[in-house]
Amino acid sequence: MIYSTIGYYSLIFGLVVSLPIFFFSIKNFKNEGIFDSKIIGFSFIQLLLVITSFLGLIISFIISDFSNETVYNNSHTTKPLFYKISGTWGNHEGSLLLWLLVLTLFIFIFLLRSKKLLKNYRILTVLFQQIIIIGFFIFLIDSSNPFNHIFPTPTEGLGLNPILQDPALAIHPPMLYLGYVGSSIIFSSVLAATSLNYISKLWATHIKQWVLISWLFLTLGILLGSIWAYYELGWGGFWFWDPVENVSLMPWLALTTLLHCVLVLEKRSTLKSWVIILSITTFTLSMCGTFLVRSGILNSVHTFANDPERGLFILSFLFVLIFVSLFVFFVFHKSEKEEVISFTLFSKETSILINNWLMMYFLSVVLIGTVYPIFLDVISSEQISVGPPFYHKLIIPFLIPFLIFMALGPQLKWIKSSSLEGKKYLAFLLIISFVISFVIVKNFGNNLLINTILIGSALYLFFITVRDFFREKTQNFSQNLAHFGFSLLILSILFNNIFSSEVITNLKVGETFKNEKFKIEFNDLKKFEEKNFLSFKGYFLIEDNNSKEKLEPELRVYNQPNIITSEADIKITFLSDKFITMNTVQNEEYFNIRYQVKPFMLWIWVSVLLISLGGSISFFKRKSL
């Protein structure tokens, strides 16, 4: 109880502290002196108060203090400790507290790391960020209080959904938030820099670190979400173009494009407008995503409680931020001479620009696909679904030029490439890639034309980046690693698609299924009693041309709450995953068995890790100037 009270009052005081932050910031902005360290001091106090509040909530969860409504709704005495703690941010109120924590933490780190930069720039960044922080404080205290008191105190909590008790799912939100919410700093500092006309090469170097951090966490957060979906949800897929997934992909696309623009800005002092617009867009998309997911406006798999009233607050807040940023952009941004393109058609800048254009197109496809049903429903009361086929049809064809420019771009020089170096060699690699691709698709796949060109382009990027690892000329190892990772990702996904095979059948114990590819023996079914569920394990022997594999999928019957989950058994190897799930069928003797062979799954995860590694190496590189 006391912890919840401390938590609550810390929140109130945290909000109050924005007053001195505003006061001293505005005062310092107007006078000529150096940066007032009191601003850092009060920001730190605000951070400490939010940390205290967050700890108050965590402790309430750990001790199962059910007088706190959030704890009551989302926890249970029998939950393992790790999941009690992760339950803190696995609900709406707690996750907003996590938002606040990242917002206040990042602005504090920003202040520490920007000591050499213009005083007024730092102050304005603090002010813009405070607007966001205050918005979240009000939202929390007013409509999403994590410290609501209930009386009488219940003896047991409600929150024991077993699907949510998973390590990947526990870390997935904090990672995502470090990404999403981290982009708030980019937002605030871009608005500050625009107002002061401070955007320059030097500023680009500084903001690049923030873009990299935000991008890195967002990439890892999305990866964790996909891994969880693959292992837990049992359908063997990892991306479904569900609104919630799309909502995390959109800021990622904006952030990746922003990263490339900042790199160009850093080298060549151009593409300033792009940098400003993309920075605003990224954070706007994060907020928009929060709105779409938490307000109940969309129908999807996410488990957050939906509440239109909260939705209205986020919506209004979001649009306030949009209008503020539009105002700053249109009033303060001067289109200078540097905006005129100063590079030729045949240059590195052009290929980055083209791929940025393509990425913005991908972003618009995802955005339109996600929100169009809402618009249609409101305007004409017609309800439609927009699912994977839409996204595939619009995105896949354009991946081809995207991959090719990604391969050629690093080969070109800045400003002007008089001729492409090693033209013959590059053309040769292109031909080889397409030939190999053709052979693979002809023998194993379908959709000959599109797949051949697609795989060919991905292979091309693959070969070029591998070659570049060994060349002395290649200066940018982190870029090469990230691009290599991307080629590997596309190739893994494509090969996974082509070479996957699957069998769905109904079997009862003792029966065997056989076709030309596999033999599945259902040998045994055993019942086990666990702490909070009843487990039915199936013992299967799977034989194919190369190997025999024992797999043991499980059905779990929980009593609190009353649900049945199906736990897949997955054998992971270097080359492929063998994936089996078991489900009940109306006739109780039979079970519905779904066996899939999924090649290159491990490579899908590894390639995203490689992309992230490339980004983190860039982050840690110090310019030896």
Partner: protein, 121 residues
């Protein structure tokens, strides 16, 4: 040059809709495109709910009766509305849906091309 690029791209887009021969493949493709009405975001192919199981049977029956993919979709959208299809149909409700991204692509390309040409001069 640009026009050629676009024509090429449209050709590729259309080559996407090739149907598969065998009945199993057809059933798989259709049920993957159907939305399970009682689940939260799953296709009929992936779902094990009662409704999905029955719907899979219905699709199988219709395939055996000789209906084509489009006829089966029409049969189901007549009963359940367009919402049951994951691949949005191309009708007056969805023109904007399909064209808007391409429009944005075109506009973006035009702006960039204009700026590049301006510099050349």
């Amino acid at each position: 040059m640009k026009i050629h690029k676009f024509i090429f791209l449209f050709l590729i887009l259309f080559s996407f809709n090739s149907l598969n021969a065998s009945e199993d493949e057809l059933k798989k493709n259709i049920t993957k495109n159907l939305r399970c009405l009682v689940c939260q975001g799953q296709s009929v192919y992936d779902s094990d709910s009662e409704f999905a199981v029955s719907l899979k049977l219905v699709v199988e029956n219709k395939i055996q009766q000789g209906l084509t993919e489009d006829q089966i979709y029409k049969f189901l959208t007549d009963k359940y509305g367009d919402w049951i299809l994951y691949d949005p149909k191309f009708n007056k409700n969805t023109y904007l849906l399909w064209f808007l991204p391409l429009l944005i692509l075109f506009l973006g390309g035009a702006i960039i091309a204009k700026k590049l040409i301006k510099f050349k001069k």
